[in-house]
């Protein structure tokens, strides 16, 4: 759970998964100051909504990463050779 009002240090791939779990299919990234960058879009999830999905996103990320040689848990990563 993000309780500091900042996503600095969070995995961008986990944040992207959390956004996807919120139904957000557009881009999201983490700004240098730790806030989320929704690239000017409206209707994006709130921080609270993202926070609520972070744990599930982290679990999904870690399960996928543990099965891969490259340790990549990002959503949509293609299968390894």
């Amino acid at each position: 759970m993000n309780t500091m009002g900042t996503y600095k240090g969070k995995s961008p791939a986990v944040v992207a998964r959390a956004a996807d779990l919120c139904g957000w299919k557009k881009n999201v990234s983490i700004n240098m100051d730790g806030t989320l960058n929704w690239w000017g879009e409206t209707g994006h999830p709130t921080d609270s909504e993202i926070d609520a999905k972070l744990s599930a996103a982290q679990d999904a990320h870690d399960i996928q990463a543990s099965k891969r040689e490259d340790g990549n848990g990002a959503l949509g990563a293609p299968d390894e050779e």
Partner: protein, 366 residues
């Protein structure tokens, strides 16, 4: 009555004037140690001839006192020379362009010796000690071998030995050696990328990372810089969830581009301009952002993202332009664009950027 002897006490104070001292009467032995102080020496009276060889040491030269005009202009020339083993004497067709102190190397440029290039003759660190006549000179070291008509490289001024290895940075190179080339270089792993990911493909012209949303990616720099004049850079950004495209930032905003830890960020250095070119499918946008030195703003909303189209950034006579796919040309800077730009890629997975053309335009762009 004749006076035979005049005691010192018989002389009034201040009575021995300069006029009473014969020329050359005051010898060095009559001057006590430390008697001649700086104030006794007339300005401009110490000439070069009064300074012993090697008398001026480094400690006597103030910091910053050696100016450009004091440094000999660099020279570089090649001559066929004949060497005798274990002898410092060298003969050549003409010594007219040689000077004492010139560094000498085998012409292949190595300071080490190797037999493949007749490199076993001139010892590392050799210089011209003296010039004997129009065809003969002496080296500071004996030759390590004999050779006839050995092509020898002579240099003076700021020579190779005065430049530390790896100290010539990109912007110190000749213009033609700094030129843009269609090649991604200096790859840096990002977002957990490692040896399992091939990030640069297509003979070095494409950087790509289809590794999931915000997954592993890479950041690389286009070889060279734009220079201050006209240039053209054409590329094909990816069209996927992550942003594909480039950053274009003023070289002057970076302390050291060659520092491996240089900021592969968004080029937002205080007081220096940069542009970011964004394209993706998830937001379906094609945007150009401008950092004006203090703030970052959406400079041009081109429209929806482009899929497989060519983007261009170019400069003609101080005007900086861009074009995204089939959209109209836009002006990024209307005049006085003279920045030397460095270019690197957006690095959000999944994304890609393929360089199609990258070149300075020495005879002018259009």
């Amino acid at each position: 009555m004749a006076i035979d002897t005049l005691g010192a006490n018989a002389l009034a104070s201040n009575s021995v004037t300069t006029a009473k001292i014969a020329n050359d009467a005051v010898t060095g032995a009559k001057i006590p140690a430390d008697a001649v102080v700086a104030a006794d020496i007339a300005d401009g009276s110490i000439t070069t001839a009064k300074l012993a060889d090697d008398a001026v040491t480094g400690a006597k030269i103030g910091t910053g006192e050696v100016k450009t005009d004091n440094i000999e202009n660099s020279t570089s020339l090649h001559l066929d020379c004949t060497f005798t083993n274990a002898d410092a004497t060298v003969t050549t067709a003409s010594t007219s362009n040689l000077a004492v102190g010139m560094e000498m190397h085998h012409s292949h440029g190595s300071t080490t010796t190797d037999a493949d290039h007749n490199g076993s003759i001139i010892r590392a660190g050799s210089r011209i000690l003296s010039i004997t006549n129009s065809t003969t000179f002496e080296m500071t070291q004996n030759a390590a071998g004999a050779g006839t008509d050995v092509l020898t490289h002579f240099t003076s001024g700021v020579t190779k030995s005065k430049i530390a290895n790896s100290s010539v940075s990109l912007i110190k190179k000749a213009d033609n050696d700094q030129a843009l080339e269609p090649l991604w270089t200096r790859l840096v792993y990002n977002a957990g990328a490692n040896y399992t990911h091939q990030l640069i493909t297509t003979q070095g012209t494409k950087i790509e990372y289809a590794n999931g949303n915000n997954g592993p990616s890479g950041i690389a720099r286009v070889k060279g810089t734009t220079g201050h004049g006209d240039f053209i850079f054409m590329y094909k950004p990816g069209y996927s969830w992550g942003y594909s495209g480039i950053y274009l930032a003023d070289v002057a905003g970076y302390v050291d581009l060659d520092n491996p830890a240089w900021m592969y960020g968004s080029g937002q250095n205080a007081g220096f301009q940069s542009w970011g070119f964004y394209n993706n499918s998830s937001n379906n946008i094609a945007h150009i952002y401008h950092w004006d030195g203090s703030a970052n703003n959406l400079d041009h909303n081109m429209g929806t993202g482009t899929n497989g189209n060519t983007w261009r950034v170019w400069r003609v006579n101080g005007v900086l332009y861009a074009k995204a796919g089939g959209y109209s040309n836009v002006t990024l800077q209307a005049s006085n664009s003279r920045q030397d730009f460095v270019i690197w890629n957006q690095s959000q997975s999944p994304g890609s950027c393929e360089i199609l053309q990258a070149s300075r335009m020495p005879a002018g762009g259009a």
